[in-house]
């Protein structure tokens, strides 16, 4: 039934046989069809737009550098001065929170250097008045998400994996969306992001490739000893001359007496190194060594939502 006839029909019913001119031209049928199609398209477009909007930096704040009370430069402090992450983020290995440094941490150095810098006025104010420096949160998860830093860094997820090259950020921004799909992407296949725990704080870590292999050795699983302590990895070929360094670190655990006291039999044999030339190989090796839970476990809702 087209629109035109429908109206005419209706008119006839209401007004009997009285003649009334058609209100709509025949061309309005085409218009009606087009408008139906257009409506559909608009709905789809709206959906797509909202979907894109939801993932856009406008919503996720990905890549945005909010105004901070002090324009703190991670680039300067990490790359320039070589501060280790944990100098400020002290509890990243112990707790769910990595920790935001207290004013005292800033003052440790800035009582000595740049003591008159205008930029650091809020820090000095904070120190003098006892009021916190009101940092704007850059990595902000929703309140119904419970994220734990310590388990990630203990199991081979490096800082840069989520936070990006912080050492190259003059002003802090979120490298990633921190949206659920992004989390799940890794929880479904952690192997693609695992790295040796010795490289957690290495901002410049790159996945192994044929031109930059990684060698790892393992002393086997020891219950009660953190898995990270059983794996030793190096980017220097341990069979070449530089291997001494890597090997010297090994017999430390448990040897309380002098090195000379250790009976010859207890000196561990030289570790066997495996060479990895791709992230996939290394990731799956570490997945087993670090006893990473299965994707089934890692994607269970209660892991992050309680």
């Amino acid at each position: 039934v087209t629109v035109g006839t429908a109206v005419a029909f209706k008119h006839e019913n209401q007004a009997g046989k009285e003649f009334m001119p058609q209100i709509f031209d025949r061309s309005s049928n085409a218009l009606a069809r087009m408008s139906l199609v257009l409506t559909g398209l608009i709905v789809i477009a709206l959906g797509v737009t909202l979907d894109q909007l939801q993932r856009s930096p406008w919503v996720t704040r990905q890549g945005q550098r909010p105004d901070q009370p002090v324009p703190f430069s991670h680039k300067h402090h990490v790359q320039g001065l070589g501060l280790q992450c944990q100098y400020c983020h002290t509890t990243v290995e112990k707790s769910s929170y990595a920790g935001i440094p207290p004013t005292k941490t800033c003052i440790n150095c800035h009582a000595q250097i740049w003591t008159n810098a205008q930029l650091l006025e809020p820090v000095r104010q904070s120190w003098a008045t006892g009021q916190s420096i009101p940092w704007v949160r850059v990595h902000d998860l929703p309140d119904f998400v419970f994220f734990n830093h310590s388990i990630h860094v203990n199991k081979g997820i490096g800082c840069a994996t989520c936070h990006g090259r912080v050492d190259q950020m003059p002003l802090m921004y979120a490298q990633n969306t921190l949206q659920m799909e992004w989390c799940l992407d890794c929880h479904r296949n952690p192997a693609k992001n695992l790295r040796p725990t010795s490289q957690i704080y290495n901002m410049a870590w790159e996945s192994p490739a044929s031109d930059r292999p990684v060698w790892c050795s393992t002393t086997g699983d020891k219950p009660g000893v953190p898995t990270a302590e059983s794996v030793s990895c190096t980017t220097q070929d341990p069979t070449a001359a530089g291997a001494q360094v890597a090997r010297l670190q090994l017999p430390m655990g448990g040897a309380e007496g002098l090195a000379g006291d250790v009976a010859a039999a207890t000196v561990p044999v030289a570790p066997v190194y495996r060479k990895f030339t791709s992230q996939d190989e290394l990731g799956h090796f570490l997945l087993v060594q670090y006893k990473i839970r299965t994707p089934k476990d890692l994607t269970s809702c209660e892991v992050c939502h309680r």
Binding site: V136, R137, N154, S300, H305
Partner: protein, 1044 residues
């Protein structure tokens, strides 16, 4: 109880059920009329279970309630909002719902420390030992502190007294700390002042009197040895200054009067007799935590023998309901009954008043005496705290005559409280002094006499005759409103003090947080009058224990703070005191059988009113009656009928010149011609939560009868509108009522007993003859893996969480529920919402009464999410908001939930709770400090339920993974398990063959509830075993209610 053993009972009802089904095919089911039910009830033998009086009688209202998923009006928009307003709200919320997913998160600010405390790891809680200084004895605590905010209060697991157990009061004190209505400023006639101004004014005033004449202190019972020491110093310096202690819930009891401290060791008692001693339901009874633990310990392995509990009681309490044999007596009959018992077991000097005991009472006494004599040295008789002091003396004499002293009972010469006094006489003389103008300064310490003082004293009139009244209190309460000086009191979690536990062990009360509102303590007030007025309570407490702590003081002090007690301070149990089998004194004569007796008891939830503003405790359904948000005139069914009343009718109670209007409710088993009223309600200035709830029973409580009085009752017009949570969340199988079961009980009764067997128990003899009784005939627990449409999950990897509840140990004390409130950020919804059945407790304690209305037994069954492996709720959720985890948890994903409530509809256990409105308080600042940061605060439109404390599971999993080890058994403790003073709850990994929960599940008595529909619940129950005395076994059913 009949001679039938439970298996017979079951088969009988099953047979009847079979017949009924055949019959049912012929005619449509029709609800039975009340008369028909009565006809059916007549002459029926066998176990009968029911949960409320409505249910027993199967009233039309009850039938209607059964048909619904949620109780009446729970699903309807009944708030006074117009339809138009409702549509507007709907429109707005739909717009918000659509946009909520797309809006940006608000920008958040991080406020770091200036100097971070060295030992603080943000995100890791710390635990500190302290103690809750409760008037019946300190409760040693271990408090969880997040960023130095106390967020969870639990018993100290290493303390020999409570082993980690706590009680509803102690749990509730956390919300009391963060109560937004606490008094926040020092005020003088309504104007802001400083503490120093008060201290100066007070000190100068007292100095001007030279000897303290006219200076009066009115304090709640002093529990702190340091405070007692400070008072003695004040008294030495100002000999005419007077201290009056008045605690409405202790005045007139043997505890306040001092006397020897008596300790019971129920772990060695085979026969326990309660003479109106409600020692299983809460901390109101001194030594509750230890008593309930020892009691339960002797019931955990019936195969190794178990104790037997006799209860003689004047109102229905959980103690009586747990007892093997219970005798309901009117309160005034109890001393006479105790005297009869004393005489029968050979106590010298006792002359029981002549009284016409019924045959049944005589039979009970005879059997009791016989049993006690057969268990010489292995029994314990506990006197009621709210009984005439003669009962305590009689009980000690009975224990002495039975050779229990030195074995199950020890008496020490030390009084249980540091400054015993006759509180009623003292407050009387205070009022006399006030009226004669002798009182210049009245300093009230943590007491609220305007509200709690006995009615006959006219305290409010006398109060105005004091020149200056200073009031140290946590709230601007009834007394605070008319006092001149108001000094905010520091909470015990904010201040230094000390207290002795029931066993005498001294605990230091150490603060967890700086006073939120600059509160002060009684220590400060007394110290103001001493040589060093600025000496802090901390220094005062240290001074007290310097001579006691052995070795290097600093080391010993730190150890005491760390451990939570000072070593070697428990009462000496070996010391002999005057405990001979002789009774000196008189036994009061019972009141006439026709008179109406009114019994006053502190409330099981808000005590004497001090916790009126604690929403958790207000909303908590009271044991036995399941009443929340109110107190009531509690009577027996027969008395209700005799007086021509219905439940919820309003009556006017009068004692002496006092009158008060109260709603009536029935407590099954309550003695006839007797009314129990709970104190602590009817507050005018309690705060936003407690003001206006219930009625003020202090108005009819007088100095001449503080524990029970003879009074009268008359019906007045109207209905009160009480909120009772029982008979809520009925299963949706009302039409089956006529079909299944014997027709002599309710739907739930059938299910509790019949094919379903929600409650399964046996007598000790039955259990010994047939240890497998809990599974007899049914075999329903065998999971059927091939009948479900859904794929089965093996759960054989890693962990599989399970919970086991020992029905023999649970006494229904409610500590678990309050603990769950704190741990899981559960909202308080208010009375009107509770009336609609919208209360949010994740855990409830189902009370199944059994037997006659006038003499029932009850079975307490904690009921929370069962974490079914084959969960009906998950199968109907359209958005996957409730799903299973690989470890077998039925988990809720709040941010996915759209509020269809299908899951709740499909839950056979009715344990899901829905946020019909925005119940969580997102606004009040002080409450934000209290929340558990590891648990989401749920908003409107979200379903929630027990999570097995998944936040604790995940914390332990992360820790174990980091340390590369399996989770240890006992490493994860659920909040309910942690609080349980009876250790009735066990949680753990059922894949670990060595875990405690696996062992408990392997017990033959273990059964599952409603497992016949193949839900495969992870929560299991260990069936009860009752150690009945053969001579009394059939007594309760034969008991006839008093003739009206």
């Amino acid at each position: 109880m009949s001679g039938h053993i439970s298996i017979d009972g079951k088969n009988e009802s099953m047979n009847k059920a079979g017949n009924a089904v055949e019959h049912e095919t012929k005619s449509a089911p029709t609800p039975m009329t009340l008369a028909e039910v009565r006809q059916e009830l007549k002459g029926v033998k066998g176990k009968r279970f029911w949960r409320s009086v409505d249910e027993l009688a199967n009233t039309a209202e009850f039938q209607a309630a059964v048909e619904r998923e949620f109780p009446s009006a729970a699903q309807e928009w009944v708030d006074p909002v117009s339809r138009r307003g409702f549509l507007k709200l709907m429109g707005a919320s739909m717009a918000l719902a659509g946009l909520a997913g797309c809006t940006k998160q608000p920008e958040e600010t991080i406020y770091p420390y200036i100097k971070q405390p060295e030992d603080l790891v943000l995100g890791k809680p710390m635990y500190f030992a302290t103690a809750h200084p409760f008037s019946t004895g300190g409760v040693p605590l271990l408090v969880k502190s997040d960023e130095f905010r106390p967020i969870k209060v639990d018993g100290n697991p290493e303390h020999a007294y409570n082993h980690g157990g706590s009680d509803p009061f102690s749990q509730g004190t956390l919300l009391d700390l963060y109560d937004p209505d606490r008094s926040q400023h020092v005020l003088f006639r309504g104007e802001n002042r400083e503490w120093a101004e008060f201290a100066e004014a007070f000190r100068l005033k007292v100095a001007a009197t030279k000897d303290g004449t006219g200076v009066y202190f009115l304090s709640s019972t002093i529990t702190s040895p340091t405070l007692a020491r400070q008072w003695k110093a004040v008294q030495a310096a100002w000999p005419k200054a007077k201290l009056v202690q008045y605690d409405p819930a202790l005045a007139g009891t043997f505890l306040a009067a001092g006397g020897p401290g008596v300790q019971y060791d129920l772990s060695a008692a085979d026969v326990i007799v309660s003479l109106d001693a409600d020692f299983l339901s809460g901390a109101s009874y001194p030594g509750f935590h230890k008593l309930v633990r020892d009691y339960a310990e002797r019931r955990k392995h019936p195969e190794n023998g178990m104790n037997r509990l006799y209860a003689v009681e004047s109102m229905t309490t959980t103690t009586g309901m747990k007892a093997e044999h219970r005798l309901g007596l009117r309160a005034s009959e109890v001393p006479a009954f105790a005297a009869e018992l004393a005489k029968a077991v050979g106590v010298a000097g006792v002359e029981p008043p002549a009284y016409a005991w019924t045959d049944q009472q005589q039979k009970f006494l005879a059997a009791l005496v016989k049993d006690l004599k057969a268990n010489v040295g292995k029994s314990a008789v506990l006197p009621g705290l709210y009984q005439d002091p003669s009962v305590a003396k009689l009980a000690l004499a009975i224990n002495s005559a039975l050779g229990n002293v030195g074995k199950t009972v020890s008496a020490t010469p030390d009084p249980a409280i540091p400054l015993p006094s006759d509180q009623l006489a003292d407050i009387k003389s205070l009022v006399a002094d006030l009226n004669s103008g002798k009182v210049d300064w009245l300093v009230i310490l943590n007491a609220n006499p305007i509200y709690t003082a006995p009615a006959d004293l006219n305290f409010a009139d006398a109060f105005n005759k004091a020149n200056v009244v200073a009031h140290l209190a946590s709230h601007l309460d009834e007394t605070g409103q008319i006092s001149h000086w108001n000094i905010p009191a520091a909470h015990y979690l904010e201040s230094w003090s000390d207290v002795r536990a029931y066993d005498g062990t001294v605990s230091i009360v150490q603060p967890m947080i700086d006073p939120l509102y600059g509160g002060r303590t009684a220590h400060h007030v007394f110290q103001t009058l001493l040589n060093e007025p600025m000496l802090s309570p901390y220094d005062a407490v240290r001074e007290t224990w310097k001579p006691v702590i052995k070795g290097d003081f600093e080391t010993g002090w730190r150890k005491s703070l760390h451990d939570g007690w000072i070593a070697n301070t428990a009462y000496d149990k070996t010391s002999k005191s005057a405990a001979d089998a002789v009774f000196r004194g008189t036994v009061p004569v019972p009141a006439s059988k026709d008179s109406l007796e009114i019994i006053f008891r502190p409330d099981p939830n808000v005590y004497d009113g001090r916790w009126s503003n604690v929403g958790w405790l207000q909303e908590l359904p009271k044991p036995v009656t399941n009443l929340s948000w109110d107190n009531a005139a509690i009577v027996s069914g027969a008395t209700l009928t005799k007086l021509g009343l219905d439940e919820d009718d309003i009556v006017e109670l009068s004692v002496g010149g006092g009158r008060v209007k109260a709603p009536v409710i029935v407590a099954p088993g309550h003695p006839d011609n007797s009314v129990t009223v709970h104190l602590g309600y009817g507050r005018e200035f309690a705060g936003r939560v407690g003001s206006g709830a219930g009625f003020n029973a202090y108005l009819i409580r007088n100095t001449w009868a503080p524990l029970y009085a003879t009074g009268s009752l008359r019906k007045v017009e109207g209905k009160w509108g009480i909120a009772i949570t029982k008979s809520h969340y009925q299963d949706h199988r009302g039409t089956e009522f006529g079909e299944k079961g014997a027709g002599n009980n309710s739907l739930e009764g059938d299910e509790a007993l019949g094919p379903r067997g929600i409650i399964r128990y046996a007598t000790l003899e039955e259990f010994k003859a047939n240890p497998n009784f809990a599974h007899e005939g049914e075999g329903r627990e065998t999971p059927q893996y091939d009948t479900s449409l859904f794929p089965n999950w093996a759960y054989n990897e890693a962990n599989a969480w399970g919970l086991s509840i020992d029905m023999n140990s649970c006494t229904g004390c409610n500590a678990c529920i309050v603990s769950c409130y704190a741990e899981n950020n559960i909202a308080v919804v208010g009375k009107q919402q509770v009336r609609m059945g919208r209360n949010m407790q994740w855990l409830r304690i189902d009370t199944y009464f059994e037997g006659d209305l006038s003499a029932p037994r009850a079975h307490f069954q904690p009921m929370a999410c069962q974490h079914c492996e084959n969960a009906p709720c998950e199968q109907v959720c359209p958005v996957g908001a409730t799903v299973h985890t690989p470890e077998g948890l039925n988990t809720m994903v709040y941010n996915r939930c759209v509020g269809t409530r299908y899951c709740s509809n499909n839950c056979p256990y009715k344990v899901r709770r829905f946020n019909f409105l925005l119940y969580s308080d997102y606004e009040t600042e002080s409450l934000k400090l209290m929340r558990n940061p590891d648990v989401s605060v749920r908003s409107r439109g979200v379903m929630e339920k027990c999570s097995y404390c998944v936040q604790r599971i995940n914390e332990a999993k992360i820790q174990a993974d980091k340390e590369n080890r399996p989770i240890r058994d006992g490493e994860i403790v659920t909040a309910c398990q942690q609080a349980c003073p009876a250790s009735a709850i066990t949680f753990g990994n059922i894949n670990d063959k060595q875990s405690r929960v696996t062992k408990q599940r392997a017990e033959q008595r273990t059964y599952q509830v409603i497992a016949d529909i193949n839900t495969r619940p992870r929560t299991t129950y260990v069936a009860e075993v009752l150690n009945l005395n053969q001579e009394l076994e059939s007594a309760p059913v034969e008991h006839t209610p008093a003739k009206g």
